[in-house]
């Protein structure tokens, strides 16, 4: 039987990473667009939102903040870390999609992007699960993720608090999707190209 990928009849680790990176790159591009669209549509002057910056719910997940730190982490643990980071957004995205209806000036485009990001996140999680098993068959993913307690803020009746809550979520989503994209591109070179792309 003709096996599409040559010798071994499975999608290679290199190809899995290539496909995952197309998705992670796209997810971050969507998140950046969503952040900028929200800022353009709801900001009330320069610095309006910077006064409301607060910690992201994923701050509890310790992530490397530079190349040297990234090079210290064991590859298997790094894959798990990326899965945790991504999984930490499943619930918030669900609520984000629902609660956007509270925002003034019908944010249809924002909601459509949030829905697409959620779909692509699930697709990427499926791929990372597969990558994890190939990187280390004994990989144990205990289903961990950062808990999100931001629903009350997304349901605030005070418009300004509501805007600050949404802004912080879009900002954190942009940051975390950039981390996921960055880490996957780095891990691809470390794991699938022996450290040198």
């Amino acid at each position: 039987p003709f096996c599409p990928n040559g010798a071994s009849c499975r999608v290679s680790l290199r190809e899995l990473f290539d496909r995952a990176i197309i998705v992670s790159h796209y997810i971050h591009s969507l998140s950046s667009e969503m952040f900028q669209e929200f800022d353009a549509q709801y900001s009330q002057g320069p610095g309006f939102f910077t006064q409301a910056i607060s910690m992201c719910h994923t701050a509890s997940i310790s992530t490397p903040a530079g190349k040297e730190q990234a090079q210290q982490i064991h590859q298997k643990d790094f894959v798990i870390l990326v899965i945790h980071l991504l999984r930490s957004w499943t619930e918030p995205l669900n609520h984000l999609i629902t609660e956007t209806s509270r925002l003034p000036k019908d944010p249809h485009a924002l909601r459509a992007k949030a829905v697409e990001i959620q779909q692509q996140n699930q697709r990427l999680l499926e791929g990372l699960d597969k990558i994890g098993k190939l990187v280390d068959p004994e990989i144990t993913d205990n289903g961990d993720y950062a808990v999100w307690l931001g629903l009350p803020a997304l349901q605030s009746n005070d418009v300004e608090s509501l805007l600050f809550a949404f802004h912080n979520m879009f900002r954190c989503l942009r940051r975390d999707t950039h981390k996921v994209d960055n880490y996957l591109k780095f891990l691809k070179c470390q794991i699938a190209y022996d450290g040198s792309c």
Partner: protein, 210 residues
Amino acid sequence: ASPPGKPVIVKCRSPEKETFTCWWKPGSNGGLPTNYTLTYYKEGENIIYECPDYTTGGPNSCFFSRKYTTIWTIYVMRVNATNKMGNTASDVRFVDVTYIVEPNAPQNVTLEIKKSQDREAYLWIKWLAPTLVDTRSGWLILQYEIRLKPEKATEWETHYAGHQTNFKILNLSPGQKYFVQVRCKPDHGFWSQWSQEKSIKIPGDANMNV
């Protein structure tokens, strides 16, 4: 009467790497009413699934909608023919959705005679990626090919346009009518059909000789 002949899975195609369809050719039916089922498992798993949709793709086909399509694994599939006298299975077919993409033809092909900066005229061809295909996300990167021929000619002249969605054709014959078509292909995959024929007449006075 006899058991059914061996079916063959002849083709699997995806138009946009989000869904895909497989078709099979039945063997002899052994003179009896014969029923066909397509079963598959995904590499790395051991659950056997059955085709989710036998109708959308037409006769002797199985259509996998987005819900059933994944790019992370290889499908290992088989068609089984069954009649009263027994059943016969096809050979196994391995399918990686990324490698079976055959896009629709490019759309909105437009032709224009333009003058280059040093007054030479040339034919400027522009087109858009096919419908359904999301090239924005980088999910599918397409390359293009153009073919053109003078009205009465039988041979086409083809030009490879890489990833560009426009192309310049130099030194065509003034006064001549040309037919133009464009097709596309993903990096791993199959050429689409040629787009609908478009034609243009090169003005008689055009100085096309660069």
